[in-house]
């Protein structure tokens, strides 16, 4: 009697369950990729058939000229430079406010001109774009912190102005702050069409 009692309550064999789950797991591992849709946002200028006008003159002071050749070497304002120095020079240029004679007169007038060779590596190009973005982010952060008495940096203001969960009054104040910062440090990056600068 005792024996039949223990045998009566049979459990369903679940050992194959693991195998089935493993099969599913492997299927998903093979057919999917980890989401990595991140990147550097960039805005292209609109296409126009006409050649650019010749008489657009920007004060040489306000222009920071960056040239990249096919050997991925940088020439900033006619001087050879390493890639990791670029960010500091751009910040110096943006935040000069007329102090040094060969940098910009004010952040609003500062323009960065980037010209690269057709043989430049894409990796180098992205590093330069990244340095420029980082430089702008840094000066904007600094300005945003002074505006808000140190409570918010530019990224937080940007997120707050896009956040639909917040109430509209708060969002509008963030929007105003964002505009103020962007007006103080407008992003003016001009990209020339690449030519053969030589070096290959």
């Amino acid at each position: 009697m005792a024996r039949s009692k223990t045998k009566g309550a049979k459990e369903i064999d679940a050992s194959s369950m693991a195998d089935i789950a493993f099969l599913l797991l492997i299927f998903f591992l093979v057919t999917t990729t980890i989401d990595q849709d991140k990147g550097i946002i960039h805005k292209l200028p609109a296409w126009s058939e006409e050649p650019p006008p010749d008489d657009v003159r920007i004060n040489d002071k306000n222009l920071l000229e960056i040239l990249v050749n096919a050997n991925n070497q940088l020439l900033v304002e006619q001087e050879y430079m390493e890639l990791d120095e670029l960010k500091d020079v751009v910040i110096k240029h943006l935040d000069n406010r007329g102090k040094l004679p060969n940098f910009s007169e004010s952040p609003q007038e500062a323009v960065i001109s980037l010209k690269n060779d057709r043989g430049t590596n894409y990796g180098t190009y992205i590093e330069i774009q990244n340095s420029l973005k980082a430089a702008y982010a840094e000066v904007r952060d600094k300005y945003a912190l002074t505006l808000t008495n140190g409570s918010m940096n530019y990224r937080e203001i940007d997120e707050c102005s896009d956040n639909e969960d917040l109430d509209s009054a708060k969002r509008n104040s963030c929007d105003d702050l964002k505009k103020k910062v962007q007006e103080e440090y407008p992003m003016k990056i001009s990209e020339a069409e690449p030519v053969n600068l030589g070096g290959n």
Partner: protein, 156 residues
Amino acid sequence: MSRFSKDSGKKETPAISTASLPDIIFMLLFFFMVVTVMRETNPILKIKLPQATELSKIELKESVAYILIGTPTDVNTFGSAPRIQLNDQYAEVENVKAFVKQSYAEVPDAYKGIFTVSLKVDEEVTMGIVTDVKQELRKADALKIIYAANKKVEQD
């Protein structure tokens, strides 16, 4: 007493219960289902994305068209010159404009304003081909682009 010790000796090596194994595997499965997305394109190009720090995330996948540039994986058949890939197949620079126009038409109306072209380019590729594609994008009036990149690992 002897019987008791015999019984306890038998009970010393019970089989390890595998009943919770399916639960663990299912947990892994759900984890992967949540963090991954379906592969949309076949890898016919070798693309190693560059690294950057100032990254933005694409919010809506519906509003994005992908243009891939890299060296073919099958070097023996297609050579090692950089190629463009649109929709699972090799394409030329001239095809980019039509592709972008078509992708734009397929985007739902509500998202047309945030239409973005994502450039997934191998870091070893030279700028020549990338610039040609960018000029085509300007002609196609797709001005918002994003250079796909991975998060830079800081070396301290």
